[in-house]
Symmetry: C4
Subunit: 199 residues, 4 copies
């Protein structure tokens, strides 16, 4: 299996996921500005999920760019990742229905936590196949960002039972880590991680 077709299939699936979410945005049942209000949480949730999927697409591409050959195990690890990503429209529309409820907010984070775990498994599978001189291993390094995201998602899932807005803030924060890739933010993440793990 060449990696070109794996990339094309993954691109197709992510392009569809990122776009069909918009089908959950039902046209408001009125024609004034106030009728847009109930749709607002949906719009914000959609925007956040769009950014997350954009980040996944971007990272997925860079990772596969450094992969050499695709084994059966890598193929299924990739489908495993796509499975969790495909549940994003589901949890996005649930969280949009009642954004102040704990369970949907926690489920939103849980799906991204499982997607992040699937991403890590895929990464490890590619590195394992490349052997000791793995190009991907060299590029990823100790993958602090990835591990920080995992920890932050897990923290958000738990803290959404304290208050959903705490979890929402963490979700936005994780997106920012990947969107604004500078050193200060990374060190900020680490200190935040220490604080949250300590709490």
């Amino acid at each position: 299996m060449g990696k070109t077709r794996l990339e094309a299939f993954s691109d197709g699936v992510i392009a569809i996921i990122i776009t069909i979410m918009v089908l959950e945005l039902k046209a408001p049942h009125g024609s004034d500005l106030s009728s847009l209000l109930p749709v607002l949480p949906s719009l914000l949730a959609y925007a956040l999920s769009f950014i997350y999927l954009g980040i996944y697409w971007n990272n997925h591409h860079h990772m596969l760019h450094l992969a050499d050959r695709i084994s059966g195990g890598i193929l299924w690890a990739n489908l495993h990742l796509l499975f969790w990503l495909s549940l994003v429209p589901f949890v996005t529309s649930w969280v949009a229905e009642d954004s102040r409820a704990s369970i949907p907010t926690a489920m939103y984070g849980l799906v991204f936590l499982l997607a992040a775990i699937a991403y890590t498994i895929l990464e490890r599978a590619i590195i394992a196949r490349q052997g000791p001189h793995s190009k991907l291993k060299a590029a990823v390094g100790d993958d602090r960002k990835g591990l920080a995201s995992l920890a932050l998602y897990a923290t958000a899932v738990i803290l959404s039972f304290v208050h959903p807005w705490i979890a929402d803030a963490i979700y936005v924060f994780v997106a920012l880590i990947w969107l604004v890739p500078d050193r200060r933010i990374e060190s900020l993440v680490q200190s935040a991680l220490h604080t949250e793990h300590g709490s």
Copy 2:
């Protein structure tokens, strides 16, 4: 017709099928964990169908990798396969509505039985075109896994009228045959086939 465009079109259709199924997963009508319960059968049915379509995509790719040229017959045999696969979201959402009913469970298996028959027809069409020294023929061999799947689907369709859970167990079992490709499972399939055919 080059096979590249046939592959790209098939990939596109399978990527869409695998993703739009998630649109059938309606956001729960509540915000507590118990409101997730009625969605659970949908989620499980979605996961199983996702795995099945992943297996089809994987096998389809390997088969076309060994094909040389595409004739009109192969093109239509391929569209025939895509037609049955495109009905997967329909039967998945039906089986999810009442997972303890016989008819939807049988229909679920029937669509996969017809897809498996379409797959076999496509395989034969490619082999026939390749002639006596067919690479695909050599790779497929006597295609025990494919024939076992056909027999298992047919058995499941019938046994879903005895009890749907028997059929469900067979569906999971067929998925496992393709996911975990080791010798012991294959011999297990064969003995299972003998038992079921004897019953």
Copy 3:
């Protein structure tokens, strides 16, 4: 504009159209075989539209295979064709709602008539650009099948007001012309055309 990207975009749009139609197939509201009955017209309409779109995809590919360069005019002629094809899911679900009504049956044919006209315009645009020694012109010849389809669609639209089943029969017949491409059927089409035009 290279034709590769035009092909890829068209393939993508047709793949999506052919697949999202299945979203109109709502899971039956019961679990016995009789609850499948109200869905049956949808299933048949879906199957016919699937075959039509398969034929369009097939012919579209062969036509573009013989095209050289893409002009702005060809690009928009292609989008014009895709527009009418994109309305297929809409008329398919309308005809499925009440398959014995004249208007939906006529509209179904009208969309395919307009798609066939758009296809002919695209064909002419490519031939015009290729000049006197057009490869496509040589391959298409006098395009009797295409013209026959146009005439048959127009006839079906009119005859659906006499009885929808006459139109349905013509729709199935046009699909057969393209699926079973032998000489006898073609001469059959011509005599049928004479009869229908004479009526």
Copy 4:
């Protein structure tokens, strides 16, 4: 990141957006011609959005054709554009629900205004990366059409509060500017701009 994969992903997303809009076209609840009437605004809105997305796809392709390499900034500028385009089905179905209301008509223009701004940002990002001898800069020139569209969208958003039909006329007019690219229309745009800005 090669630009091939960026193009393929963008094509996929635009192909999906352009096609899923048709899912908002619900089959009429009757079988006579008059039952098509309530769907007519939807059909017209769909047709206009289809043309707009076709224009975007066309221009996007020409722009990327002149781009050399893709940076992280260009990638996110591209996703930013796709985000606003992905909201087109949402505003299209809203404007179709009550085409005589000001707010939905204004929102329709607002999404295209934001898409046009995102397009301009993407254009600038590519030009900036190409440096002083930018091929894209040379091709785009002073981009009068792009700036005129921006101004016309903004004008339409404001004038939709005077009367929605004025905005609708401007939307059709902007589409015509891009569809019929001759000099007279361009000068017409400029004089129109002067008049509207003067009002």
